[in-house]
Every structure is written in C-alpha cells, then in structure tokens.
Symmetry: D2
Subunit: 347 residues, 4 copies
C-alpha cells in the first residue's frame, strides 16, 4: 500500500480542495498511514533519570505556590509527542512532589490514576473514606470517578509517579471532572480496611462490585516484595519476563483498573531476558537494583526510581546488574478487552 | 481548575524551557485541558448529504483508476478534526464506491470495519470464505484480522458507508495490516452459511469462538426491518430512542464487534424523542424516511442515506417526518468495557 | 477401593450400631460406593415407543377428569429408578396430553421446563404474557419461576414431551411453586413478539436480562430445520454427532436454560456416528426419520416421536436409516458450570 | 395441589399397574411431591458435639487398621437421611482422624473436597506438588480431579472436618476416581508457594486457570482471623450475618470451589442475628466461642468444634455467648449458577 510519490495533477488538486470544503478527504492518499503494516505512532524509547527529575521537581517546589501544589507535577512527554502530555499514545505519566505540610485538594475524574511511590514515607492518599499511608514501592490506585485527595504530614518531601489514562479518555472523549468542596474527604475507615476487607482471599458475603476497579486501592510493597521473593526462591524465572506478576482486582481476577494494567517483576542478579515484544507500550520504573534494557537499537541504563518507556511492538531485553525489581504499567486491559493485544517471544 | 491567565514570569519561562529540553512539561499549565469538566474534544455536529456525496464519489470514480479502486473512498472528516481522517475522536467513516466489474483486493488489518450498504444490490463482501451479497440496509462486518475482499459483478455502481475504529487503534498503537497475495479469497462456504450456522438461535454444539467479533458477519436488512416492525406493532416506543435495538454477537450477546457498537432504530412518523445524551459520539445514517435531529443548538435535516454525527455528551432530539429507520454506530463497547460510558435522559 | 467382603466382627457391629444412634456411619464401608471409579448410578438405556405411549395417554384422557387435566402426564421412569419419577439421575421426562378445549391452569415453579411438541398443531403455551402456538418439532421453554399456562383450542389432541430438572432441584432442595389465581394469564404481547425482539441477532438497546433463561421462549421447528438443512448442504457432518447444534439464549450465547441443555441434530440417511460418550445422560426424541442407536450393548430401534434415554458415560452410536432429526436434552449446563462435564470420542 | 385422598378405583389401579410395566407413572398422583410449594426434602437441623465425635473417632482409630486409615472417617448423616451418607440433600460431611505417623494414600476424584482443621497442628495435605501444613481453623481445598494425599508426622492425633459434594455428583452421575500408584505425590513446591503465587493480590503475568477451583488451596486461619478482626473493629456487623465473608478464588473472585461455597463469620460477644433464611442448606462448625442457634423451632447450643446443619429455607438466628467465629459451607455456588438461590431477611 505505498502512497503515490508524485505530485497530484492540477485537476486532482482542484478536486481535493473541493472535497476539503465538504469536509471530505481522499482515502487513497492516506490509507497506508491510517492502516499501517505495524504499529507506527512514532513513539520513542526514552529514559528520565531520577536525580535530574528530583532536582527539577524541587525547583518547581520553589516556583509553584502552595495553592498550586495540587498541580506540582512534571509531565513526562514522549520525545515524539512534545506538547501532548503523553508518554505513550494512550498513557500519561508525571512526577508529583508533595512538600511537608502540603495537601492536594480533593477531586474526582473519570480518568483512572495510579500512584507509585518513589521517595518518602508517611504521606497519604485518601480514597473512599480511607487513607493509605504511602511507602516507597507502594502501588495505589484512584479509580475512575472516586474522590481522592492526598497530603504530606511528615517532615520530608514525598515524590511519586502518576500514571493516568488521560490520552485514552481523550480518544474516547469521555472525560469528566469535579472538584471537592472541602479540601479533604472525611476519614470514615481506618487505614488498611480495604486490604483486610477485600484483599485477604475473602470477600464480604454480600459484596456487590462498584465499578470495574479494585476495591483494594493500596498494594503495599512489603506484601508484593514477599510474593516475588517466594516465586524467586521456588521456581525458574520466565525467559522473557523473569518473575513477573500483574496486580489484580480480587473481585474479578482482572486488572486492578479497567484501563491500566500494572505489573511487578523480579530480575535476579545477572539475569538477561530473551527478546520479547508486545503491542502495549509500557512505562517502567525500577524499585530496586540497576541494569540496562535494550529497546530495539536503544540501550537504556537504569537505576532505582528512573522512569523509562518502551514503545508498542519494540523488542525488549532486560539485563539485571543486581537483583532488580521493576514496576511497570500499560494499556493492556483495553487491548485485551478489544482483542487488539499481541505479544511475541522472539528467538 | 482555571488556567493562569497571565503570562509566565521570565524565570518561570526559563524553567519551562529547561523542562522542555528534558521532555518534561509543567502540569499546572495544562491540567484543566487534560482533565476537563466534561467532554471537550471540540468534536462538532455535522451532516453530509447523500446527493452531494454521491456526485463527488462518481467524480472520484472518473479520476481514480481501477488499480486504485480499493481506495476509492471519501473520508468524512469532522469539521473540528480537518486532516485527521476521523469523524469522531475514536472513529473513522468513509463512503466507498465500487463500480461495475471492479474488485477491491483482499487484505486484513487489526482495525475492525463495518460496511453499511447505501445503494446498489448484488455486490459482495467476502469474509472467512463466504461471500455476502449486499443489499441496501444490510449491515456487514469485517472483524479484526480477518481476510476480506469485495467486488461488484452487477451493472450498477454500489455505494456503502465504511465505519472503522482507526483512530482508536492509533490511540492504542496496535495497528497491523497485510495484503492478500491473491486478489480474492477462495469461496469455501455458500452465501448465508454463517447466518444459518450462528444466527438462528442455535450454535454448533462444539463451537469455540475465534476472536471477539460475531461469526455472523452479515445482518440482512430484511430480517432487521421485520424485527423492528414487530416491535413497532407490539409496544410503545422508548421516549428517547423510539424502537431501538443493537446488533449482537450471538455467541456472547455482546456487541457484534468489540470496538464498534451498531444500532438500528425505528421512529414512527411524527414521533419526537425526548432529549438524551451519552458519551459515545455517534454516526447516524437514515435508511428510510426523513426528519430532523437537534444536536445541542444545531438542527440537522436528514433524508435517507445522508450521514450525520452527534458528538459526545451533546443533547440529541430526533423528529421523524415520516416513518424513519436510522442506522448508527459508536465506540460504546469500548466505553462500557472501560467503565467510561455515561448516558442521561434529560427532562 | 474394594469393600471388605467379610462380615464385620461383633465388636465392630456393636460400634456401628452405636455410631448409627449418633447419626454417624463408617466411611470405610461405603467409600467405594460414594466415590466410584466411574459413573455408577445404575441408570439404564431405555426406549418408549410413541404408539404405545399415545394409546396409554388417550386411555388416561378417559380416566382423568377435566379438572385433573393439568396433571394428565405419564412420567417416563428409568427402569433403574422405579417410583422415583426420574428418567436420568437429574432429569424428569413426561408425556402430556391436552385434549380439544382443555386448559392447564397456570402456575409457576422454580423447576425449569421444556415442552417438545410431538403431535398436534395449534395448541399454545403462554409465558410472560405471550402465547406461543405449538407445532410438531417446536421447542418451548418455561423458565424458572415464570408463570405459564397452556390450552388447546383446536379439534385435535395435542401431545408433547415435558422435560424438567425436578430431581436436580430436589437434590438442591430449592423447589418452590405457586398456582395462578386465574386459569390463564392475560395476553399482553402478540405471538412471535419475543422471537422478533430477542431472536433476530438484535437486542433491545437497554435490555437487562431477567434471570438466566432465554427470553426467546419458543424456537419454532421451521427455523431450526432450515438451519440444520443449510449446515447439511454446506459441510461435512461431525463423525460423532452429524450436524448437531445447541439451542442458545441469545442474550448470553449460553444454553437456553441454566439447568437443561437442548440440542437438535441432523443425521443424513445412512450415516453412522463414531462411538462417543459423555457424562450428561441424555434424553432423545426423533423428530423425523428412523434408525437405531447403540447404547453400550443395547440396541434401540427408533422412529419419530419415540423417546429414549442414554445413561451417563454410556457409549453411543447412531445409525440413520433415513434422513433423521433428533431432539435431545441433558443436564450439561450444570455439569459445565461445575466443571464436571467430560466427553470422549472413542476410536 | 393437594393429592387425592381416596383410594384409586379398581380400573385406575389396573391402569397404574399397566403403566408401571411400561416404566410409566401417573403424574397426577405425585405432582405435589415433585413440585412442592417450598423446599420439602425433610432435611432436619441437627448438631454433633465434638467431645462425643472425638471419642468415637479415637475408638474407630483402635478398630480400623493402618491400612484402612485413609477411610477412618465418621460420616455425619442427617437424621432424615439415614444410610444415605449425606448431611444435606447435596452435601456430605465427615470427621476424619489421622493418627501420628499415618498417611492417607493419594488419590483423585471428581468430587470437590474441603478440609477444615479442628484439632492438631502439623499434619499436611498435599495438592499439586505442595504440602500445606494444617493448623486449627485452616481451610484447605482439594479441587476436583487433583491428586491429593495427607499425613501426620507429628506426635498428636489430627482431626478435621471433610466436606464434599458427593450427593450432588451422584445426582449428576458424574463421579470418577483414581488411586495414586505411589502413596504420596512428589513434593515439587515449598509450602506456602500457592498462597504467595496466587493469593497476594497478584497473579503470574501469564497465568491460565486450570479448572474452576482456586489455585490457592490453603487459606490459613491466622490471615482469615486477622481480616475478620479488622472488619469487626472498623464497622457495624450485618444484622443477619455479623461480620461474614466468603472465601474466594483469586483468579475469578468467585467461590473457592465451583460446587461448595465456604464462609467465615465473626459474631461479637452478645450479638444476636436477625432471622434469615436461604435455600442453601448449610453446615456450620464454630472455630472459637460458644453460643446457640435457633433453626426454626429447634435450638442448637454449640461450642467450638461442634458441627451443626441448617436445612434449606429454615429460619436461622444466631446468639453468641462469647466472641465467636463460625466456619460454614453450602452448595450456594451451584444454586447461583442455576438461578435457584433465594435468600430472605425476615422481619
């Protein structure tokens, strides 16, 4: 399906202009672009180093007033998508700083969000009347249309990675948002309640799901780490993934959120994964350890708290210089629900 | 969440420039745009009249050679999205002409497609070894990654409306395509086989679904029309929808395709629907009758075979000047699978 | 796990007696019976000839008064389960006669029921405000807890086969029943409404399922026959099943009822199926044609309207002397929902 | 639907005899029994006291040799179903003793089984290559058709409650069993592996379910107790249930087994539940505490490790004399899958 290389003739040009006035365009000029042979968004591999990010964030902390604190986020933009606030075609990522004593005013929106804690212990995110205390490595969700607010009552700055489905919701044109009247929601349940209530392989006998997201909204790193360690002790790593797990909604066994899949994987020291590719462009952040990841021809050297992105259908190989744990997220749930997900283990 | 109205100070500007060099952007400048209060794509209501479309299509028939025939499609572009080949944020629509004796070379792609026949009887679309003969009002699907080709062996031109999920697949960066080596696939099953096999409220005893789309790939208008007429005789129309049905995949009861929902509704002569809005921007084409549709402040006067589009969350009211039948399609299956779908009946 | 062959000692006997007084029993005496190597109910193959059944039914028509007419049913009892009103371990079957002018008073019960019409055209079953006119070969369901009544306004007797899940509901101890105050329910929808509304590969746009059974409650034989014929023309018969289809609930693609699976199969003249066995004991009634079925060592010669039963895990081979169509039903939906279903194609 | 009270006439009797010879029976004599107004199995409330059970079990330990040890189980028979090895219409319950040094030879069967540990710490059940160490209050499953064996390497006797779906599998006539060649299966995974792998709100990224049962086969009491305590601290008890949870299969959010639902509930000291009834006859065993349960007119006084049964549709009220924890199981998954489940909160 190659495109015509030559300039259109004058009568064709006149015809195309006339089409344009009717809000029509000739498919024969754009078909190959619209229906490419394989993923062709131009999304590029990229890495952001935590030390630089942290330094810029703290600088932003000085520039952006307390009133703007809820927006004190640096958006990670894919180099191919400058000015579009997207790290992949469907996902947004940002680094958020909450300084000691700050609060981010509560709101809700139809975009699903995850917080992955990079630095600082003791801040909280409140969802559905419960405050989750945040520790590095914790994975926290704020599901679609649920009120959430957060604050930092400790003496140290707190930094987390935000992941949202903003570009997807734009593509579906289904975004709604609403601010909370109060700064904070009332705390109606003690910390840890949702994990005990929904996350202990039991469910309340008459539980009726509310929405598609997990009612467990905080997945503490200590439990996740313990599960990975057990897998690491008890069996061989997968050639392409090491010991890789996905976070689940215990009410369904599906992903924790309907639009964003989240994963945690353990790569033993010295382990090199076999080449693999999939259609869900993925954002990674190492929680522990260091190593390098080959993404096509690019090589990304990473340490804990860096953030890097692997485009759709790019071939990936990880090499762990030390025992390493990687958190990652992608739009896999949407791709699976629509039958578009593909993955391939390469020789 | 209003955006700052004033120009940034010099030090802020310098900071923003520095951020840009690190592929970062300040969220506090873009939050309101990224997370709008309600759907804010700018998608506009619009209508394309069939007589004009037909005339331009035939003109294209003269300009575009037989070799290019497979691409002889005029893409309907939302006036808000010029040059983007999308009629809504997530959907593509085009009008395709196949002249007597022509064939569109077979191919397959991960984009799901529908054909809705506007004019001409006797052309065919082949899917999975079976050729569906096309009549006006027939709804035909070519599911993701299934080979399809079409041709017109009659003496008259054939025109249909194409609906595809191209923008959605772009947003997910999951597009693959492959041309067929032969022009046409071999015919291995007689016409009507899939409808008898899967569409008679029976399924083969050991049927295992292949993919998420309906194995019934042709929904003939005569059956659809008969069902609507029965509903029209037997009960009151819904205040907002008239007698409205959705096409289903008989293997699951879900939508015929996982990314595009399709609907047919009967509006009795003189019926006026109550205002309604939903988050799935929708493309309509009347099959029979005439009337007008209020979309927010706009009024669209339509006749059979026109095509019009209703943006997300726009308030819709239909008025049928005669008995009218409307076909429509939207991305509702994706919105429902992701929990984003909203609809509202207004007072 | 053989059972002890010898008589228990006196002290054991005394112990067993003592256990019995505490409502206890020693598992070591019954384990092999309770947990058999393979299905061991004793259920036997059997056939009932229609001419005899019909004659006895008509005789019952003379004995049983009009007031008792709603119960004028001969229950087909598996020879192994005399007095238990079951044709298999989980299913009930009966032959019902409705004489000209009679009505069976309406009621509802949690047992699911099917009617399969053997003789007579023009009687009706009413479900959910709609009357289905009955023709030979029609398959009609009266779902759990839905009001139903039937009558015969023609001049000829009508005979159908009833299939119910009575023994299963007994095993679950979940049976409820309620008589209707009026003899008949009000007719609120014309005949054919549910088939048009739910059975034309379309569903009402806002349809919410009520219960697990199909909202299409009548599957007319002419449509079923046409689908089978198309399959017969278009492809090879399955070696074990011929052209076999299952009736589906178009809202889910599952079985028409949650407890009883129903099937129709076409065996071309002269076709002999390969041996097959499955765990769902099955009741068959030929609609057309004649032939014989080997069930283990037994040979059942059948003609249209006979009824025969194949026990769980018995090896089945059909031989069609003429083009034959067989209706059948079993508890397969329950076996599949519980993971107990097994089937095997034998060499 | 009352049955005729009078004796049948001579000609009717002759007719009934003749029907019997054709394996037919007259429905008009049995309809009210087959289709009762409400659950009518005759199942009775009953309680077995642990001290008596334990004493009889130990006595059996002396009578039944080591070779028979795998069958050293006392079956709890509902007083209404003497000789039928069922505690409800669909469920089997038994008390099993494993003496120090004993092993129960491995086998597998299509019946699903649960073990609920009443006494003794340190015995094991092996499933799928992993041995679960058993502590009082632990809930362990041996899913359909999975090899399992158990042993007691401690110095103390171990007693657990077995719950199986034997009568249900009989009703479906779908029972298969197979002995293991070796006494024990090889241990291929360390204890705790399945809980870490599947039970920590994560699943292996490419996990494909095998069967319908939970891959977590051991639910340790300490985790269950902790979850209940958290619920008890954080919210009000349900009026009818106290703090009641169901064990789930983390792959689906459904019940841990497809045929047997299992529950654990905390009743605070002094709490009295409101009357409630449901169609799933339920077997209870208190893990901690004491109290009484009203079952219709019967009053059952219980202490930890007793076993009692509540028939279908019987009205239940619990009174906790101390903080009490009750384990229970029923056939609710089957009733829900078939649409037969009913429950009611009474005034």
């Amino acid at each position: 399906m190659p495109q015509p290389a030559t300039e259109p003739s004058a009568d064709r040009r006149e015809f195309y202009d006339r089409l344009g006035r009717h809000h029509l365009s000739p498919l024969w000029l754009s078909l190959a672009t619209l229906v490419p042979r394989q993923p062709a968004s131009g999304c590029r591999p990229a890495i952001w180093r935590y030390p630089e990010l942290r330094s810029l964030l703290l600088e932003a902390g000085g520039l952006v007033s307390v009133e703007e604190a809820e927006r004190r986020v640096l958006v990670l933009e894919n180099p191919a998508f400058g000015g579009q606030s997207r790290i992949t075609t469907s996902l947004y990522a940002g680094l958020q700083l909450v300084l000691p004593g700050e609060r981010a005013r509560g709101h809700r929106h139809t975009q699903s969000a995850l917080r992955f804690v990079l630095e600082g212990t003791g801040a909280y995110t409140a969802v559905d009347g419960e405050r989750a205390t945040m520790h590095p490595g914790d994975f926290i969700i704020t599901p679609s249309w649920q009120w959430h607010d957060h604050g930092n009552d400790t003496d140290d700055p707190v930094v987390w990675l935000d992941g949202l489905d903003i570009p997807l919701v734009q593509a579906l044109d289904a975004g709604f948002a609403e601010p909370m009247h109060a700064v904070e929601q009332a705390v109606t349940r003690p910390a840890g309640d949702s994990l005990a209530r929904f996350g202990a392989n039991l469910l309340p006998v008459d539980h009726r799901p509310r929405g598609l997201a997990s009612p467990v909204f905080s997945y503490p790193y200590d439990r996740t780490r313990e599960a990975l360690e057990t897998l690491g002790r008890n069996g061989e790593p997968d050639p392409c993934h090491g010991h890789k797990m996905r976070f689940v909604n215990p009410v369904t066994g599906g992903f924790a959120m309907p639009t964003i899949g989240t994963f945690m994987q353990l790569l033993p020291r010295g382990f090199e994964t076999k080449p693999y590719r999939s259609t869900d462009a993925t954002v990674f952040t190492p929680v522990e350890g260091e190593g390098r990841t080959h993404v096509g021809a690019a090589v990304l050297e990473w340490r804990a708290r860096d953030v890097f992105v692997v485009p759709s259908w790019a071939t990936v190989r990880h090499q762990a210089a030390s025992d390493a744990v990687l958190f990652s997220f992608s739009d896999r749930p949407v791709q699976q629900a629509t039958g578009l997900f593909r993955e391939e283990r390469l020789p």
